[in-house]
């Protein structure tokens, strides 16, 4: 509750004379029973399980020589092994990635096979820059909601040791004449300084996910699960890192039929565009949009990252 008060305080203009934040608790309906924010039903999109690798420091850390397909394979295998699910039951796999060519389309398929997934399970990749991993989650959720699939794996991976933000691609020479277009190629460090100048003052608490150890030889003992409680908005300062994560989500009816646990429910998502020169403030506006969707119940936000950026 205290955290909610702080977050909601950030979203209202400071110093407003009328400032009185009444927070009330209402049933979100992620358990049984109905409440104003929605009831639980068999078509809910639920999170089953999630695992991630440790976060290695780019160029110096434990994963500096590890290719991203190995990192991704470790995370994917861990998730399925933990719940005892056979990979052929996955309807789709979506991987968020930024730096690999084609957002890692080939790399993801290789990781797929390294994990022993059958060729009948499809995979695709998505790139929404820092929120690629989160976008993968909502892509799979969308496919579940539209009944294309029952169960899917959403992943994210990045190796900033092996690839850097280098070639921006083939861009028109008209880019320099267009202010907003030109702002798009501002390096992240500079945009973050612009963000620091913003009045936002959002503070982020730590995520407490659990770690998959990745060894160069063989993936061995796997640690316990991803916890739904205690999550919050983004992470700490932007670091250059190598890591991977995978989350298994599905339709509640299918998940329960397979006897899999339900960790949490996806209630809503929001995505916004913001000025490119302060792109780091994205989460602030996206959260505001969610808030305005009247999702002011006792909820947990899940945000996970597949690469260096802590933003959603």
């Amino acid at each position: 509750m205290h955290r909610l008060k702080i977050i909601s305080g950030h979203l209202s203009p400071s110093g407003s004379s009328d400032y009185r934040r009444d927070l009330w608790r209402s049933e979100c309906g992620s358990g049984s029973g109905s409440g104003p924010a929605g009831s639980s039903g068999p078509d809910d999109v639920v999170v089953v399980h999630g695992r991630r690798t440790a976060i290695g420091r780019a160029k110096r850390g434990s994963f500096k020589d590890t290719t991203p397909d190995e990192l991704l394979s470790a995370a994917m295998t861990a998730v399925l092994t933990d719940v005892g699910l056979s990979p052929n039951l996955l309807g789709d796999v979506c991987v968020g990635n930024v730096l690999q060519p084609g957002a890692g389309a080939l790399m993801a398929r290789v990781a797929h096979f390294l994990s022993g997934f059958p060729e009948t399970v499809p995979v695709y990749t998505v790139n929404r820059q820092c929120s690629s991993g989160l976008q993968a989650l909502f892509n799979i959720a969308g496919a579940i909601r539209s009944k294309s699939i029952d169960l899917g794996l959403a992943c994210g991976v990045e190796s900033m040791s092996l690839r850097s933000i280098g070639n921006p691609g083939d861009l028109s020479s008209r880019l320099v004449d267009n202010d907003k277009a030109r702002d798009c190629i501002i390096p992240m460090g500079i945009t973050s300084e612009s963000v620091a100048g913003e009045a936002a003052g959002l503070r982020y608490g730590p995520v407490r996910p659990e770690i998959v150890p990745v060894t160069t030889r063989r993936l061995s003992k796997l640690r316990p699960a991803f916890k739904p409680d205690g999550s919050t908005t983004a992470g700490n300062s932007s670091q250059v890192s190598d890591r991977a994560a995978a989350v298994l989500i599905g339709r509640r009816s299918a998940v329960e039929a397979m006897g899999l646990p339900v960790l949490g429910v996806l209630r809503a998502s929001a995505v916004v565009g913001v000025p490119p020169d302060v792109m780091g403030i994205g989460p602030a506006y996206a959260i505001l949009q969610l808030w305005n969707k009247r999702l002011r119940c006792w909820f947990n936000y899940f945000l996970f990252k597949d690469d260096s950026c802590p933003e959603s």
Partner: protein, 329 residues
């Protein structure tokens, strides 16, 4: 003034040492200097530790002194009896000094002059200067008493992996970088200070370099493939090359014997000690992860210490220099 504490724990030593040990060096009196970093996890920090009894390392409770640094540590070196230079992930060179009966490490300066991780630091004999190399491809020569950079050399085209100052001549140092070049630098030459030292084919990027303690023109360097090359750059002796390791050589160290032995540690998790013909006289595979640092005890000792990412500090003993391999326990 340090308050006496019952357990004799240094006052500002961190409670816990980071896992990845990156660097180790003995002082002449046998005091061991360690550098540690955390390279996985949510925050990446480093720490510097001093052990008067190296057998106690890496036990935090038994250190002589210890301090948390603001970022990961790549390399630590003694610069005088009481000074320690630290190459930092933040791009800084830090100078720390032992105070209060050597139980406290005090920061003299932290200067962020490099634009990327500082990978290596080497003090110049004479103790008032040091040379650093960085992933920003530059080499900087520092005046430690003035706390400034004296010269910056931008010759390497890729990250500098190692710099080593000559133990005998204070104007000379060697650098090696990912661009495959091993360069011999002479600071007295303002126009063309660097001379290229040829590397035997197949050329692959050199990772570490060490000066022979007695022969002024002999150096040893290791590379990405695990080879160790001993070369006399004045050309009188033939070059010796051996495939010592199966992965990158991380560090080389000559012993203090009159006919020095050469120790090489590698990402293949092993230590190899070779004699002057580059024949292996000791191989130790107890490390469970990359071995990153090696240092011999001074005074002609047969003891050397290796440190690695497995957080182990292992002490090894070689038999007589020309003798058969002695498996250390």
């Amino acid at each position: 003034m340090i308050k006496e504490n019952r357990w004799n724990i240094p006052p500002n030593a961190p409670a816990c040492m980071e896992k990845h040990l990156c660097s180790a060096q003995y002082r002449a009196d046998g005091t061991l200097l360690l550098g540690a970093s955390s390279l996985t996890g949510r925050s990446w920090q480093g720490s510097v530790w001093i052990y008067s009894d190296p057998e106690q390392a890496p036990n935090e409770g038994f250190c002589k002194a210890g301090v948390q640094t603001e970022a990961g540590v790549t390399d630590v070196k003694w610069v005088s009896e009481k000074g320690v230079v630290v190459a930092s992930d933040s791009g800084a060179l830090e100078l720390w000094e032992l105070a209060e009966d050597e139980r406290l490490l005090v920061n003299r300066f932290t200067k962020q002059e490099h634009d990327h991780i500082v990978t290596t630091v080497s003090p110049i004999t004479g103790a008032s200067s040091a040379v650093t190399g960085s992933m920003d491809c530059r080499i900087k020569v520092w005046d430690l008493s003035q706390e400034t950079v004296v010269t910056t050399y931008s010759v390497h085209t890729q990250p500098v992996r190692c710099v080593a100052c000559s133990p005998t001549d204070e104007s000379l140092f060697i650098s090696c970088g990912q661009d495959g070049r091993v360069l011999m630098w002479d600071r007295r030459k303002p126009n063309k200070p660097a001379t290229r030292i040829d590397v035997e084919a197949p050329s692959c990027s050199p990772t570490t370099v060490a000066w022979h303690p007695h022969h002024r023109s002999t150096i040893a360097f290791g590379d990405e493939l695990g080879r160790v090359t001993v070369k006399d750059f004045l050309g009188t002796e033939p070059t010796q090359v051996e495939n010592i390791h199966s992965r990158r050589v991380n560090a080389l160290a000559y012993s203090s014997h009159s006919a020095p032995l050469l120790a090489a540690v590698s990402d293949d998790c092993s230590l190899a000690v070779m004699n002057s013909e580059l024949r292996e006289i000791l191989r130790d595979r107890r490390h469970q992860d990359f071995v990153k640092g090696v240092s011999w005890l001074h005074g002609g000792s047969n003891t050397l210490t290796t440190v690695g990412w497995d957080h182990l500090v292992l002490h090894h003993s070689v038999g007589s220099a020309a003798g058969a391999p002695n498996s250390s326990s």
